[in-house]
Symmetry: C2
DNA sequence: CTTTGTGCAAACGATTTGCAGGATG
DNA sequence: CATCCTGCAAATCGTTTGCACAAAG
């Protein structure tokens, strides 16, 4: 992976034909630096924790732009919440029912479509496995109720 | 499958300890009769097409109740839209990028977890494969642009 | 008769929009 | 210097809530 180099971030933006603005840079850099899968609002809050850097509308618009440029991906695992992920290479997700934490699952873990031809007439562009359950910590807690 | 029998619907509701009201019955019957995966609003509109039968709030509340009772399942494939599905047995989904249509994929099509032990410490409760691409019709349209 | 569901309208949270001013390439 | 981005506040969309009335068991 090895992200976080400012030069690389700027290059990524430029290579997609995007203007490099402080706000857009900040949003993308923040997302690259995080291992969780934050919502737009979480990014907005973290960016402006020290000093105001970016308005709400700008964070939303930056995320849309980044998504259209293919630098960022959305993750939809909960009702009414749209999360974002700077890791665009294909991978799967696990969501803990207890704490809501979302973790990545390596792509190589499953090979679903290689072996199973889908319904005829469907052109497959991508797929993803979503796993739900309890993480280590949450499973331990609910063990002895 | 063979749903749609009013008696069966009433029995399903009762068996989960739910009161059988006309509105709740209508919401569940409508969902059972549909092959698509409608949003709450779509159900609301279809129910009230002929004559007013159920208010918006009641449809939402009925769906919540049915979901808690395990008679209905939510399907999250698009940003900001929560769809519902009366087919609660495990299965996968395909979403067409062109028309947005969602179709079911039989559970037997994939067997992901049987062969792949996940990360240690994770208790798996369920999983689902989400496939994206183009359906027959949409693939044909975009063939010669 | 007690409990639970319904309808309405107002409240709500997340996201989008219109527009004027500002920064980027 | 033309284009695109930002910030603000208002608008919008889907969903939830509070409360009085009505219906189910």
């Amino acid at each position: 992976m090895m992200p976080a180099n400012p030069e690389q971030i700027i290059q990524s933006l430029k290579s997609r034909g995007l203007r490099v603005t402080p706000q857009r840079f900040a949003v993308y850099a923040n997302l690259l630096a995080r291992a969780d899968h934050p919502t737009a609002e979480q990014i907005f809050l973290e960016l402006n924790q020290q000093a105001p850097q970016s308005s709400q509308a700008t964070v939303y618009s930056a995320l849309q732009t980044l998504r259209q440029a293919g630098l960022v991906r959305e993750v939809l695992l909960e009702e009414g919440v749209c999360r974002y992920d700077a890791k665009v290479e294909p991978h799967h997700h696990f969501r803990c029912r207890g704490c809501g934490q979302i973790s990545d699952i390596a792509w190589e873990t499953f090979h679903c479509l290689e072996t199973a031809p889908l319904a005829p007439g469907l052109t497959i562009e991508s797929y993803e496995v979503i796993v739900r359950g309890l993480c280590d910590a949450c499973a331990g807690e609910s063990e002895t109720p």
